[in-house]
């Protein structure tokens, strides 16, 4: 008779044991791989402190430029943070709580600036407001002034960058704050009124403080994007960490120095991330209550309605409509460009990158999310958290953190291949789009994870168990229960990554392989070469692609809104009262 211990050990066959082991450690492994760029960047900081030459570079940087980078970055963050809060919160409040003519259009129109990458907005405004541009030319024609007769502020300045970034990024604050206002216990606001506060006061003293965590989350997201921006600040001539990294890496041929700058930038990002996590947790406490009643929105009329409309319309106008019109104008003059083979090649390249990146990213996200579901240990959760850090890390940091280890790995692979197999596979990792796809994976994994996770959380374990009891095996459960329910999340995640990849600039600039220009790169090169108008078609394509998720988002918002507004169905009397027993 086999002893109990023996029986237990032979319960799992060897391959099964191996797979078990693989599963439990694969997640942390994947997380580490994804964090590799960050580790490299952080490590470089310390490596840089070791070599004398590197210390000297760092000292030089500190003495002359880092102060300026810090100052510019600081001013950018303060300015953008302030503006997006005001624009986002006021738009969220007005469109949630008030009714006025045009508000239903405005609700989704306020999302439109999301379709515009910041650098493209920067290019359009430069074109529009430059001395030779339409605005100033019209002004001079109307007034007969020449240069020197009038003062026209230059958009290509720190203030200009703050404005451009704010108009592009405020939708983050708008979306998140709006969700918070909608979910807020309406009863809390009514309670405030029974306790003596007028509607205006109840906004300031109750609604706004209750939404504070949500506002903080939105603002920190906007600030992270600000820190990551390269195209806008580079074009406007503003020296920040991102431009400094490019300049040090390339201009001074100093990789370590650039990595050190990257690590400083990273520390600022970490601070923002900590703030964001804390406010996310706080906002859980703040959404207490599920009141059935839909608060009747304030009806605004007359002057107030007009003011409200204008207040909400201006961000849309400046953040999307005007830049889009400029792009259309530029593209219209260049209709022939669209059919040229090299433009089509650009589109093809961009599509290849975007589709591959989105498919890979979504698959990895699926793997991680299922891993978390099957093995819900703290280690797994931590792994997923680390794998999700990429959204906060600027593309340029990820790129420099990718190229160093990949190049190293490539050389080792080639060494092995040549010595043992006598063939040279070429640069497998850093020479192909693999490096770029990996960078996209690191950066955009988190948005996929969030989308798929929320979709997966709708599929309770109880559903799995019901399936099992009803006789389905694991595969059938996946195919017949999970997949239909996950379809939307998968699609959403794919689209989000797709569009983000199309818009991405700095990492693409650094990591792209041969013959591989994308729409974003082309727009950047043309703008940098002072051929703004020629950048029109490429930029327009990016914006058109960017509209797709905006449309999805707005549809989702509409659906939720109409659900909220449906009156409760009144049951018939006969269904309530017991019929007469006669």
């Amino acid at each position: 008779m086999p002893s109990p211990n023996q029986t237990r050990r032979s319960y799992k066959s060897l391959p099964e044991q191996a797979i078990c082991l693989l599963r439990s450690y694969s997640l942390p492994f994947v997380a580490i791989v994804i964090c590799l760029p960050l580790i490299v960047v952080a490590a470089a900081f310390f490596v840089g402190l070791i070599g004398a030459e590197q210390r000297e570079t760092l000292a030089h940087l500190w003495q002359f430029v880092i102060g300026e980078y810090i100052w510019h970055t600081f001013v950018l963050m303060i300015g953008v943070g302030f503006l997006v809060s005001i624009m986002g919160v006021s738009a969220a409040w007005l469109t949630t709580v008030c009714e006025f003519k045009g508000v239903s259009w405005l609700r989704w129109a306020l999302l439109l600036p999301l379709a515009m990458p910041a650098y493209i907005t920067a290019y359009t405004y430069s074109g529009m407001l430059s001395f030779e541009g339409p605005v100033q030319r019209m002004l001079r024609e109307l007034t007969g002034w020449q240069f020197g007769d009038y003062f026209f502020p230059d958009i290509r300045s720190l203030t200009g960058a703050i404005l451009v970034l704010s108009f592009v990024l405020f939708p983050y604050v708008y979306l998140i704050t709006r969700a918070a206002f909608i979910e807020q216990s309406r009863a809390a606001l009514e309670a405030a009124r029974t306790l003596g506060l007028s509607p205006t006061k109840s906004f300031w003293r109750v609604a706004l403080p209750m939404a504070r965590p949500a506002i903080a989350t939105g603002v920190t997201l906007a600030l992270m994007e600000t820190l990551a921006d390269y195209g806008t600040v580079q074009y406007f001539g503003i020296t920040t960490f991102t431009t400094g990294i490019f300049r040090t890496w390339y201009g001074m041929n100093d990789q370590i120095g650039a990595l050190q700058l990257a690590s400083i930038l990273l520390s600022a990002v970490v601070v923002l991330m900590v703030i964001e996590r804390i406010s996310r947790r706080q906002s859980q406490y703040h959404s207490v209550g599920r009141s059935k009643h839909c608060v009747r929105p304030f009806q605004l009329t007359g002057l107030k309605a007009v003011l409200a409309f204008v207040a909400c319309f201006i961000p849309v106008l400046l953040g999307f409509i005007l830049p889009a019109l400029q792009l259309l104008a530029w593209s219209y003059e260049r209709l022939h460009v669209w059919l040229q083979p090299d433009f089509i090649a650009l589109i093809r390249n961009s599509l290849i990158l975007a589709i591959s990146a989105s498919v890979i990213t979504v698959l990895v996200a699926l793997w991680l999310c299922y891993g978390k579901r099957r093995i819900p240990t703290p280690l797994t959760r931590a792994s997923i958290n680390f794998a999700s850090l990429g959204y906060a890390i600027p593309g340029v940091v990820i790129a420099v953190g990718v190229i160093v280890p990949f190049a190293w790995l490539d050389h080792k692979i080639i060494y092995i291949a040549e010595h043992f197999f006598n063939l040279n596979p070429g640069l497998l990792l850093s020479g192909t789009i693999f490096a770029l796809l990996f960078a996209y994976l690191v950066r955009f994994l988190s948005v996929s994870i969030q989308t798929i996770d929320s979709g997966l959380s709708q599929i309770s374990n109880a559903m799995d168990e019901s399936g099992k009891i009803l006789g389905l095996n694991a595969q059938q459960i996946l195919a017949r229960i999970h997949f239909p329910l996950l379809k939307t999340s998968l699609l959403t995640a794919t689209i989000l990554v797709f569009v983000d990849v199309l818009k991405e600039l700095p990492a693409t600039l650094i990591l792209r392989p041969f013959n591989f220009n994308t729409l974003a790169v082309r727009a950047f090169e043309l703008a940098g070469d002072e051929r703004l108008a020629e950048a029109g078609p490429a930029a327009l394509m990016i914006v058109l692609a960017g509209l797709i998720p905006v449309i999805f988002l707005s549809r989702a918002m509409q659906a939720r809104h109409s659900r909220n507004n449906q009156a409760a169905v009144t049951p018939k009397a006969e269904e309530i009262y017991e019929p007469v027993k006669a």
Binding site: A188, A191, R193, P209, M210, Y285, G289, S291, A567, P571
Partner: protein, 351 residues
């Protein structure tokens, strides 16, 4: 004196009428209750008393002051009414003490502190002042919501299904506590609920609402024993309506036998009526001639609720102490024990 007076109030928007011609009064110091199923308009009525919904017709007066009419609407913040919401609606970003003192923030801080402590004692949560709402249980949050509403000494306290999100056992004890507190403070209150037990435990006066109309506004006892409408009779408590006919001797002939009472109208011989028969009106008496079969049985703890079928097929309810139980299908004897007759014109009708 009447603290609250509603006179022919209509509330609605567009083509929908949600509250239809409701009138009632609530005396000072009384606790009233609006009772009815979901969608009958009771919450809307409560909210219109608070000032959140305008009134299309009729008037609402608080302490003889007109607060709502088609012509004017005094906003909630000016009415000095207190409100406790179904989901408590505590401000999550403020501590318990700050929540409670929210309505009295214009008083001096020492007065505020005093009132806060007093209320915390009243709701048996003394010492919880520095906690945050999310650190409290549901029952505790409800009590804080009550304290917050009471702090500014409102003229009337409105409660919107205050216990529906709590556990069943908590509900009963809390209902008793809250009534005691309100009575000790002499606060006039109006409560909305769909739970009869709550209404009976808390209210001095209750009104049954149906499709926006107030069917009957009376003490719970009267509602139970002297309902004026079929629907009220059906809604309150258990019971059946037996079809009967008025005989020449001013008695009613029913499947349960001949019933007599002062309530039978004169000169109505031959008319068909419906008689309300409650489970406690029927006693199991094996010595009775009237036989019936037990076709249903429900254990209620202290007693069994039997569904019994009479010889002519009519089914009625009957209660009996659970010390002795009768099995399904057994034959028993019934005896009527009706104090007073509750009669309605025959046939179910909309009021």
């Amino acid at each position: 004196m009447n603290l609250l007076k509603l006179d022919q109030v209509d509330v609605g928007f567009g083509k929908n009428t949600i509250v239809d011609d409701v009138s009632f009064t609530l005396a000072e110091g009384d606790i009233g209750c609006l009772l009815g199923p979901s969608g009958c308009g009771k919450t809307t009525l409560l909210r219109s008393i608070a000032g959140f919904e305008p009134v299309r017709r009729g008037s609402i007066e608080i302490r003889d002051r007109l607060v709502s009419s088609p012509a004017q609407l005094i906003p909630p913040e000016k009415r000095n009414v207190g409100m406790v919401f179904q989901d408590f609606a505590l401000f999550p970003h403020l501590t318990v003490a700050e929540n409670i003192s929210f309505g009295i923030r214009n008083d001096s801080s020492s007065e505020q502190a005093q009132r806060v402590n007093q209320l915390l004692q009243h709701v048996a949560l003394g010492g919880y002042g520095n906690r945050y709402p999310h650190q409290l249980s549901g029952g505790q949050q409800q009590r804080i919501a009550l304290a917050r509403a009471l702090a500014p000494r409102p003229q009337i306290l409105l409660l919107d299904e205050p216990f529906s999100s709590l556990d069943a056992d908590l509900r009963e004890s809390l209902a008793t506590e809250v009534r005691a507190l309100l009575k000790s403070e002499g606060i006039t209150a109006l409560l909305v609920t769909h739970d009869q037990q709550e209404a009976f435990a808390m209210a001095d006066k209750a009104g049954v609402m149906y499709h926006g109309r107030m069917l009957q506004w009376d003490t719970p006892y009267e509602l139970y024993h002297e309902p004026t409408y079929h629907l009220v009779a059906n809604f309150i408590g258990h019971g059946v309506l037996l079809r009967g006919a008025i005989t020449a001797e001013q008695k009613v002939l029913t499947p349960l036998g001949l019933l007599h009472g002062d309530e039978v109208p004169d000169n109505a011989a031959g008319e068909q009526v419906d008689v309300l028969v409650r489970p406690d009106d029927i006693i199991i008496d094996d010595s009775s001639e009237r036989r019936a079969t037990i076709v249903g049985k429900g254990f209620r703890g202290a007693h069994y609720l039997y569904t019994v079928e009479l010889t002519d097929g009519t089914q009625v309810f009957c209660m009996s102490s659970s010390h002795h139980q009768y099995s399904l299908g057994s034959e028993i004897g019934l005896r009527l024990n009706i104090d007073h007759l509750v009669l309605f014109p025959a046939g179910f009708c909309e009021t």
